[in-house]
Symmetry: C2
Subunit: 375 residues, 2 copies
Amino acid sequence: MKLIILQDIIKKGLSLVERATLKSTSFPVLNNILLKGEKNFLSLTATNLEIAIMWWALAKVELEGNIIIPSYVFSSFVGSLPNKPIKLSLEETQLEVQSGSYKTLIKGQPSEEFPIIPEVNEEEFVLVESRPFCQSLSQVVSFAAPSTTKPEISGICFSFQKNLIKMVATDSFRLGEKKYFIDLPNLSKEHTLILPQKTAKELINIFAEEEGELKIYLSPNQIVFEKLMEETKHPKIRLISRLIEGEYPNYEAIIPKKYETQVVVDKSELLNQIKTASLFGGKTNTVKLKINPSKNQVEIFSQTADIGSYYSFLPAKIKGGEIEISFNHRFLVDGLANIKSAEVIFELNKETGPGVLKPVGQEDYLYIAMPMKTD
Amino acid sequence: MKLIILQDIIKKGLSLVERATLKSTSFPVLNNILLKGEKNFLSLTATNLEIAIMWWALAKVELEGNIIIPSYVFSSFVGSLPNKPIKLSLEETQLEVQSGSYKTLIKGQPSEEFPIIPEVNEEEFVLVESRPFCQSLSQVVSFAAPSTTKPEISGICFSFQKNLIKMVATDSFRLGEKKYFIDLPNLSKEHTLILPQKTAKELINIFAEEEGELKIYLSPNQIVFEKLMEETKHPKIRLISRLIEGEYPNYEAIIPKKYETQVVVDKSELLNQIKTASLFGGKTNTVKLKINPSKNQVEIFSQTADIGSYYSFLPAKIKGGEIEISFNHRFLVDGLANIKSAEVIFELNKETGPGVLKPVGQEDYLYIAMPMKTD
């Protein structure tokens, strides 16, 4: 391998792929990056065996070749170089990195030692817009629960349909459902799959700020997210992930079909008052809400014996009867924080039934929280 | 106590004094803040027994009084209120905090439980400019070494003289000396004292961004830093600290009086090359410098068996002979990072003698680093 690439370009690639590296004493090669000079591209690859990230850029390749290099040293060294051309060349199993008055030799390994990255199955794919897709995912991603006993709910359930992508996550105490409406004309059938939460977070990290199309390849055990270079239509970034096996719980059954009391309030004000009340919520994180139709207000209470007591209120539009109900403040805060409208709809059924939060004027989001048992 | 104060004002005071609170199971009152409504001021006080921070602000005091309140709950609650007037009033040993639609009762303790804050001895004091004083201190503060066997060097040595304040800190491997030139006409004699490093850091945190004069009261066992309110000349912020007992080492003896080789180089470039070389410095953090008069350049080397090798160079003006010398890269980086000039003077004596770093064109700063023994 012998090639020249600009520091600023390879730096971006390194900061991207090194997210997939893993410090592992039993499998130390995972803490490395695979460099390939091929045709007129440099490619970087890293994997932790659950996900793999691949990145390509145009480079002046004088001699093809490849090597595995420790991620931290290479990426830190490149990061501290000035933004000038960098010459990469192989000296047996060492990589010579030269730029201006800097020259290093970094010890590597032959590329055969690197784990095999699965090929992309190109049979079934959909095209989405990168930003709104990631934006939608970010509204539910945090609700999944790392769980070894119930691996199904440790991921986000995706349902790809002809005119929408549904994303659902739950930890069995609360649940978020997002509908991203988009036409998927080349979908042959409905696909349901469970994406590991870590992959979903990386997906957002990598693609949320990228403009343009994201190509998603669907296959039974694996999913691939791919962004192409604008000029060459060659792949630019590829995220490959395994999927979680198993059946996602039938959550639709727990979504209440009606309500006894419905409240419409300012979202930011409710969020701020619940956060503030949480200071007095004690170890159980309990905040109590009183929906008070006679005063047209929501009242918020909390107290702990050794700290003190809290009270606040905010104006509300209320349909239905008075109700007092307690929640873990985190469940309400997490739900409200993911609602994008200025006002929020809060629907309740008795003291023990789930509470439903929805944005006002949008039919694409739903958050359900179980109340706390008080007596 | 019954008083009214604006949220924005008391919030600033709380974020300031809560730095001195301490979570202590044996002395839980240290995690509290003393509130006093007196004349037309609200004052806040916190202490960890090593330092105390006091803060005052004008308030509409309807009834004088005082109480001790848990720092975290009070400060977090006030912080989440809107910027409107807050009413504070006592209900026996509870503090009622009311603002707009919020009302809480926070459990407190009678103020007699609070540690006694020492009175200010007003006999001897000096006036300095807050910003340059803190700026000077920040150039040496990090070099002191938390040490139980040598408590003297766990602080910063201050020498107050008629026309300057000298600040020195060392951990016995490197040393920084800063001279802050200022006329101190009302000083009766030279004062030398050792300020705990933690106090010095708080001093910078509190006063570095404050414009105007800082009053320093000097007494044998205690030091007080005080800032007055502009309008009323009443104290606004007071930081009180104990001093470290003992004699500061006679460091002047180790400052080399001459040099064999003197180098003048670009500071940022040298700093960047040494930082980069440190990636290859291994567990001993060793970087080797070769001062090469025949090429008019400084060359930098480092290597570790399992990682690889590093080389870089930068142009230099050199007086004297060739020398190769190794340092712990951290010692050079720390010294260079505290030099404010664009170019730096580096003076060396043999492979085993201390290296001296100085700014070009300024006679007020000196940094000494001991080299590493190699072979």
